[in-house]
């Protein structure tokens, strides 16, 4: 099984060629504004290490879409249709959103009559004329991406589907996101996810399009996949439709990569990037998940995310010199290689400190040779104490645990960190994200409404587990490697007693041979 894993980060694009867990080649290159040329450069660097036809898959993890939301960049205006009047007007769409984000996506919000009760009866008929009016209004305003959310759509999605058809009749080219495709009960969280997804439609077309352009440029026939937040893959067509599913795939990849490279399955992982360090916990080889809802870019959603503490220390962090030395949280980000002193720039960064202290061979050490020794010591101490404070927040037990350092900024750390049983920087730590992407699994999900009583619960759940496992194998997972990743049970209120919506996700290792034979099957199972 040979794969290329790629991480397209805000600062660097990394590529690794991995065969059966062994890194055969790796390359790190700055992320370019157009993304594609950096990606081409990274691919060109690792491709010569094998025959092209031996590569089973290119798996890309990217934070570009998350960053677009967080930085309010490359977002498009979204037309929002909420179906549910007369209910829910006290909390209209976009309630509680940060003002700058609302400005970035506009306030094209329409609420119409319709939606369902918890038992699947309509609250009222869908107001089709109002949906058509909304679509015409969006078209006039030049809004091309539409999010539709209907009350209780996870139980009854007919009004969302019908509204989508009506919008399409007015705006055939519109990008449509339906909330029922993205979430479970909890109208605001599900609607938020749909709106964010819709706001990213153009960015997704661009960014994922650039992945396809890079592949075409190199005349590669290998299929391209993207990693999702749960560590499984989806094909690029699905990623274009659901860019929001790539959220948090970066931290998942870096933690899975850290596990692959270090062999530590229960540890704290510190991923030191260009701008921030993300600190999370590995439990039995998987990232510990945050409980409850997660804010992304200030928006409340119900996505599963690794439980991370992010601190403003990275390789590109600015070292402020003045009365008191400070490190971060401002960063030169992807411009490190032009603006940092050691690369001939005029900005003093955390990387310059590491170079001046002789801990890394990158850059030109002579350019930072004249720096004040005391300043270097102080900045260095701040970097270490900042990371240690972050580790302390992530730990759930007082006992020392192994700490694995990964990311391009791992060289900032020179001594064992406090609270660590051991501090490990594995080989290829600087490309752990890409290694984690290459190690991404394939999954399948079953989503069924079932009747559960106390005497049949075990049997019903076992049955659903079996169906999910079979579907994962069907999708291309290696039989025997498949296990249940998560189970969600949503009781359906007021339906027959014991009625629940059960969602079971099974994941396993990609099986090369099957996978090459059945590329079409991957798509169906790759969702979440």
């Amino acid at each position: 099984m040979m794969r290329i894993g790629i991480d397209v980060g805000g600062t660097n694009t990394d590529a690794v060629l991995v065969e059966d867990g062994q890194v055969l080649a790796s390359h790190k290159t700055p992320t370019t504004r157009d993304i594609a040329s950096g990606l081409v450069r990274a691919l060109e660097a690792v491709l010569p290490a094998t025959r092209r036809d031996r590569i089973d898959a290119i798996i890309i993890g990217t934070t570009q879409l998350t960053n677009a939301l967080v930085e309010r960049r490359h977002l498009q205006h979204v037309g929002v249709i909420r179906i549910g009047l007369p209910a829910a007007t006290a909390l209209p769409p976009l309630v509680g959103w940060p003002t700058d984000l609302v400005q970035a996506i506009g306030q094209h919000v329409v609420m119409v009559h319709g939606g369902h009760e918890c038992d699947g009866r309509p609250i009222g008929p869908l107001d089709e004329a109002a949906v058509l009016d909304a679509a015409r209004q969006f078209r006039r305003a030049g809004v091309g991406s539409i999010a539709i959310a209907s009350i209780f759509s996870p139980i009854a999605r007919a009004h969302e589907d019908r509204a989508a058809a009506l919008v399409r009749s007015v705006m055939p080219q519109a990008e449509l996101t339906l909330s029922a495709d993205l979430g479970t009960l909890g109208l605001l969280e599900r609607e938020n996810a749909a709106i964010v997804n819709a706001a990213l439609a153009a960015a997704a077309a661009d960014i994922i399009g650039s992945f396809e352009r890079a592949r075409a440029h190199l005349a590669l026939e290998t299929p391209v996949f993207l990693t999702q937040n749960d560590g499984t893959v989806m094909d690029s067509a699905r990623a274009r439709r659901f860019p929001v599913l790539t959220f948090a795939s970066g931290p998942t990849n870096s933690m899975r990569g850290a596990m692959q490279l270090s062999g530590e399955t229960d540890a704290i992982v510190v991923d030191i990037g260009g701008t921030t360090s993300d600190i999370g916990a590995l439990v039995k080889g998987y990232p510990r998940q945050a409980s409850g809802t997660v804010d992304v870019g200030g928006v409340h959603t119900s996505f599963r995310m690794p439980d991370l503490v992010s601190i403003g220390i990275g390789g590109g962090s600015l070292v402020h010199v003045g009365d008191a030395v400070r490190v971060g949280p401002q960063s030169v980000g992807y411009e490190l290689v032009h603006r940092a002193c050691c690369f001939g720039g005029d900005v003093l960064t955390a990387t310059d400190v590491a170079v001046a202290l002789g801990r890394t061979g990158i850059g030109d050490a002579s350019r930072v040779a004249g720096l004040d020794a005391e300043l270097l010591q102080r900045a260095d101490a701040l970097i270490h104490s900042g990371l240690e404070a972050g580790i302390d927040r992530v730990k759930t037990m007082r006992a020392a645990v192994p700490v694995v350092l990964v990311g391009g900024g791992a060289m900032l750390v020179r001594r064992p960190l406090q609270g660590a049983l051991r501090t490990v920087t594995p080989p290829h730590a600087d490309v752990a994200n890409a290694v984690g992407a290459a190690a991404a699994q394939i999954g399948a999900e079953v989503d069924r409404v079932v009747l559960i009583r106390s005497d049949n619960r075990d049997a019903v759940m076992r049955g659903l587990h079996d169906v999910a496992i079979a579907a994962a194998c069907e999708a291309g997972a290696l039989a025997g490697s498949v296990h249940i990743l998560h189970v969600d049970e949503v009781p359906i209120p007021y339906a027959a007693e014991g009625t629940r919506r059960v969602i079971v996700k099974a994941v396993g290792e990609l099986e090369a041979a099957r996978f090459r034979r059945l590329p079409g099957a991957v798509r169906e199972g790759a969702g979440t």
């Binding site: 829910a88 909390l91 309630v95 918890c118 109208l187 409980s291 409850g292 439980d307 189970v487 339906a495």
Partner: protein, 371 residues
């Protein structure tokens, strides 16, 4: 005391914790309250003791399945209609509102209704926590009638319920709520100022806001949120001490919605293989380890995220979460023989009898005990 926007955030935390897993998502109420305050509306919280004895106070609440409340959100003017109708039945104006319960969604609902209508809110409630049924309030236990009760839904459908028996009020209200689509806005338990002074649990609104503030400040300072919460509660004089019941991962969840309640069991496992079972019916009712009861209603059983200290509702429980279970001794008003018959194990059809929570003998130290 006039509420500010930060109070809405802090109250949502405190109300979430005191909701003991139920009472609906305070986040929804927080958003509604923030919306209201942002429009310049003012919400005034007054002391129970400042009421005139003859004042007319009504309690307000949303009733129904918490899952439905997060999906079929409020329209916003339901409570205005409920109070108009209630005033018609009473033939006198309502002078102030009071939350029926401090825990969960309903404390914020009372504040939103009060801000919308320009009425003050009494700093008190009938539970000091959250309970699922109409009769489970201190004033009901003391003999105050829940009737007349007006229920309103998002369509403006409304029903007046009258009964001399609060248990029957519960059954009637529940079936109305069911017919209204699973959730209704209710105005009921009309009391005089004198009755509020005598029978409500005082100071719980400010206390819940303070609880949220203390958790927020502990988090900002990188302190121990759980310890900060326990110290704060010990200082309120409302509760009977606290104890750390369990720390572990959610190993299994069995839950369903029955007649509008989220009912089920969460199984928690710790690193030594010990298992705690938490039974819930909207709220957490019973926590036991190997058949041994560790905490039982009306004492408070709160499940918190071990990392952030954020309270987790029974809807929000997920397989694999790392959680901490905190036990808090119930307010004294819930522990009389008369009260236990209504809000104790028997009131929930539990076989076990009430046993007081074994709270930590030594009062927790105010300092951060982690090294």
């Amino acid at each position: 005391m006039k509420l500010c926007i930060q109070d809405a955030v802090d109250l949502a935390y405190g109300a979430g914790l005191l909701g003991t897993g139920g009472g609906g998502s305070p986040w929804i109420g927080q958003l509604a309250l923030q919306q209201l305050l942002a429009t310049g509306a003012s919400v005034d919280v007054i002391d129970a003791m400042s009421l005139s004895d003859s004042a007319t106070v009504a309690t307000v609440a949303m009733i129904g399945a918490p899952t439905v409340m997060t999906e079929k959100l409020m329209r916003g003017d339901e409570m205005r209609l409920a109070l108009e109708l209630l005033e018609q039945v009473l033939d006198r104006p309502v002078d102030a509102l009071m939350p029926v319960e401090i825990g969960g969604l309903n404390s914020t609902i009372a504040l939103v209704a009060a801000g919308t209508l320009g009425l003050p809110v009494v700093d008190a409630d009938g539970m000091g926590r959250a309970f699922p049924e109409v009769q489970m309030v201190t004033f009901g236990i003391a003999g105050v009638s829940a009737a007349p009760m007006v229920l309103v839904n998002e369509h403006g459908d409304h029903v007046l319920v009258q009964s001399v028996d609060n248990q029957r009020m519960e059954r009637l209200a529940r079936s109305v709520c069911d017919a209204m689509g699973g959730v209704a806005h209710a105005a009921s338990y009309v009391m005089t100022g004198a009755e509020v002074k005598a029978h409500a649990i005082h100071g719980t609104l400010r206390m819940a806001i303070g609880l949220g503030r203390c958790a927020r400040e502990a988090r900002a300072q990188g302190g121990d949120v759980l310890q900060a919460i326990r110290d704060y509660l010990a200082g309120t004089g409302i509760y009977g001490g606290s104890t750390l019941l369990f720390e572990g991962r959610i190993a299994d969840l069995d839950r369903e919605v029955q007649a509008g309640f989220n009912i089920g069991t969460a199984r928690l496992e710790n690193n030594t293989g010990q298992v705690m079972e938490v039974l819930f019916r909207n709220e957490n009712l019973l926590a036991r380890v190997g058949g041994q009861v560790r905490a039982i209603v009306p004492d408070l059983i709160c499940i918190l995220d071990s990392e952030s200290g954020a309270p987790i509702t029974t809807d929000g429980l997920r397989y694999g979460q790392r959680v901490t279970v905190l036990g808090i001794g119930a307010p004294a008003a819930l522990l009389t023989q008369k009260a236990l018959a209504v809000v104790g194990p028997a009131g929930f059809g539990l076989q076990a009898s009430y046993q007081p929570l074994a709270v930590d003998a030594i009062p927790p130290q105010p300092s951060d005990t982690r090294s």
